[in-house]
Amino acid sequence: MSVTLNHYLFASGILFAIGFSGVLLRRNILTIFMCLELMLNAANLSLVAFSRFNVSPTGLPNYNAQILVFFIITVAAAEVAVGLAIIVSLFRARQTTHVEDVNSLKF
């Protein structure tokens, strides 16, 4: 059995769902942040798959998507750099990375 586009899309859909449910269900901010990265990587996987299977008449894959993947990886790295810094300063101030302890702003 050869691996088709659908297999990749299915895997990427599962990754995205795992990431999204992790964001909704987990209570540790670091875990939530990892789940967010998982969502981005799910998108990367399906982008590469779409690119590989979207063969143009000239026989080449559509490379636009693969370039986009590099941009996503770079931007995600920048986001992690800033995000972890914010989480570290939250931990310094509050000694916790648990979402339930971060609730001073309420109605």
Partner: protein, 501 residues
């Protein structure tokens, strides 16, 4: 042939300014950093003037230089200028909540980062390819993460920063996944090419014939992401907390800049999809639901608020609702995107003026009364009649009193909705306007009919006085003579399809 009046020059100058400010900050002696803010204001004002002389086409498939893009760039520039003026006023508060020894230490980046955000917003205004949309959106969002969490000795700011980080990154996730699916389905990342290819692909025998649901799913993911950006319900969860916790100038920037750039991207992204007969009605239906939810949530949840920043946060959700009404009034059979762009553009100019004014007065008053509840505005008419008058103008315009720019914006939105016979939207809109009268007028009542908590007059610096006076004049003048601004967005040089090459 690139020349100094090429469209891209604007962004390049803004980016150079940002880098220059950061470098100069690290090389300068420690001490007061307000010179950075003044430099920023001056250069951005020059760029704003420059934007009236740019000519020519961008010659790029990523970047459009049509008049709409220029118009939204001017909104970004003006709001950044306003934010820098506010940041100058905010320095004393900022200083209290960041670690550092001596006056001005650690405050430098607070003046440099808004410039980068501005560049991101300007690129968003011009982006016609999903690649540039994504990178520009992230440039502004990542700068915002830092700005929101800037006061790291204050729990509220840090908490707001973490919440914005998580929900903003979630929005990014949805955006990227949406882009993925749009690319996978249409095989293109350029909006113009998508607009060209979609009708053929959707026709019988085309590769997308019968898979409308998949396209709706993809566009739905994009709508979630942009809904986060423009603070539309039901993606508004972050708004109240982040607005309340963030430093006040950043809150103003979030509510004006982020919303304006979000809407131009929304307009450009929706255009190819809404124009398809099989997708249009469903997408307009979704926009309808978003508009109703934002209007209802924004106006009802604002009623019991005592904190002015939180109140303005709910008001920002409500205004996203009004703006969405004009999108939901599009006729799917023949969507008039030029008309919607015009309504949204004018509304956003009005929103820019009144929101900046409200936040500027709030910044001045709260840095001298040490708090941003409505109670801190008690008796402001005695402490500073000038600021009290400015706040009355801002609130009246936000509520939509005739002769202010807010009224004319709402009038345009509602007349579009009536023309499209969306009477449910109009009804809910009128109810939320009525609710708005109540909560905006609570602020006015506090200023005039309550005794002040402290008697000391509120001191206003020269630059802020100038900014407040300009904003008041702008609100009143545009409320009476909306023509000049309306005309500047009337012509949309070319539809996105024409810039195909």
């Amino acid at each position: 042939m690139p020349h100094i009046f090429a469209p891209l020059t604007l962004e390049i100058i803004v980016l150079i300014l940002g880098v220059f400010l950061l470098l100069a900050e690290s090389l300068a002696k420690s001490g007061d950093r307000s010179w950075m803010g003044r430099w920023g204001v001056a250069v951005l004002a020059i760029v704003f003037g420059w934007s009236f002389f740019t000519t020519g086409d961008s010659g790029s498939v990523f970047y459009s230089a049509d008049s709409t893009a220029l118009f939204f760039k001017r909104i970004a520039l003006l709001s950044t200028i306003g934010i820098l003026v506010m940041a100058l006023e905010f320095q004393t508060v900022l200083q209290r909540f960041i670690p550092g020894d001596g006056k001005g230490s650690g405050t430098g980046e607070f003046f440099a980062l808004p410039v980068f955000t501005c560049a991101g917003l300007m690129f968003m205004a011009s982006a016609i390819d999903f690649l540039l949309i994504f990178v520009a959106l992230e440039l502004s969002t990542i700068s915002f993460y830092i700005l929101v969490a800037y006061m790291r000795r204050q729990n509220a700011s840090l908490e707001a920063g973490v919440k914005y980080l998580i929900l903003g990154a979630l929005g990014t996730g949805f955006l990227v996944y949406g882009i993925t699916w749009v690319f996978g389905l249409t095989g293109e990342t350029q909006l113009a090419r998508i607009a060209q290819a979609l009708p053929l692909q959707l026709a019988p025998g085309g590769r997308l014939h019968g898979s409308e649901t998949a396209i709706l799913f993809a566009v739905g993911l994009l709508l979630v992401a942009l809904g986060f950006k423009v603070a539309a319900a039901p993606f508004q969860l972050w708004v109240p907390d982040v607005y309340q916790g963030a430093p006040t100038p950043v809150t103003a920037f979030l509510s004006v800049g982020s919303k304006a750039a979000g809407f131009i991207v929304l307009l450009r992204v929706l255009e190819p999809f809404v124009s398809q007969p099989v997708l249009g009605p469903k997408l307009v239906g979704i926009l309808n639901v978003l508009a109703i939810l934002s209007l209802a949530y924004g106006s009802l949840a604002a009623l019991p608020q005592d904190n002015l920043k939180r109140l303005l946060a709910y008001s920002s959700i409500g205004h996203a609702g009004y703006l969405l009404v004009s999108l939901a009034s599009l006729n799917p059979a023949a969507p008039d995107f030029a008309g919607a762009t015009r309504t949204i553009g004018f509304y956003l100019v009005g929103y820019l003026l009144m929101t900046l004014l409200a936040f500027l007065v709030l910044t001045i008053v709260s840095s001298q009364s040490r708090g941003d509840d409505i109670a801190h505005f008690n008796g402001l008419s005695k402490r500073s009649p000038f600021l009290a008058f400015a706040m009355v103008v801002a609130m009246a315009s936000l509520a939509g009193i005739p002769l202010t720019v807010g009224f004319y914006g709402k009038f345009m939105v509602f007349s579009a909705a009536v023309a499209a016979q969306k009477f449910l939207l109009v009804g809910i809109g009128i109810v939320s306007v009525a609710a708005g009268f109540y909560f905006y007028f609570r602020v006015i009542a506090a200023m005039f009919w309550r005794e002040p908590g402290e008697q000391s007059p509120v001191v206003v610096s020269g630059l802020s006085k100038l900014a407040v006076a300009t904003l008041v004049a702008g609100i009143l003048l545009l409320g009476i003579f909306p023509g000049p601004v309306l005309n500047s967005i009337k012509v949309r040089n070319e539809p996105a399809t024409a810039s195909l090459r």
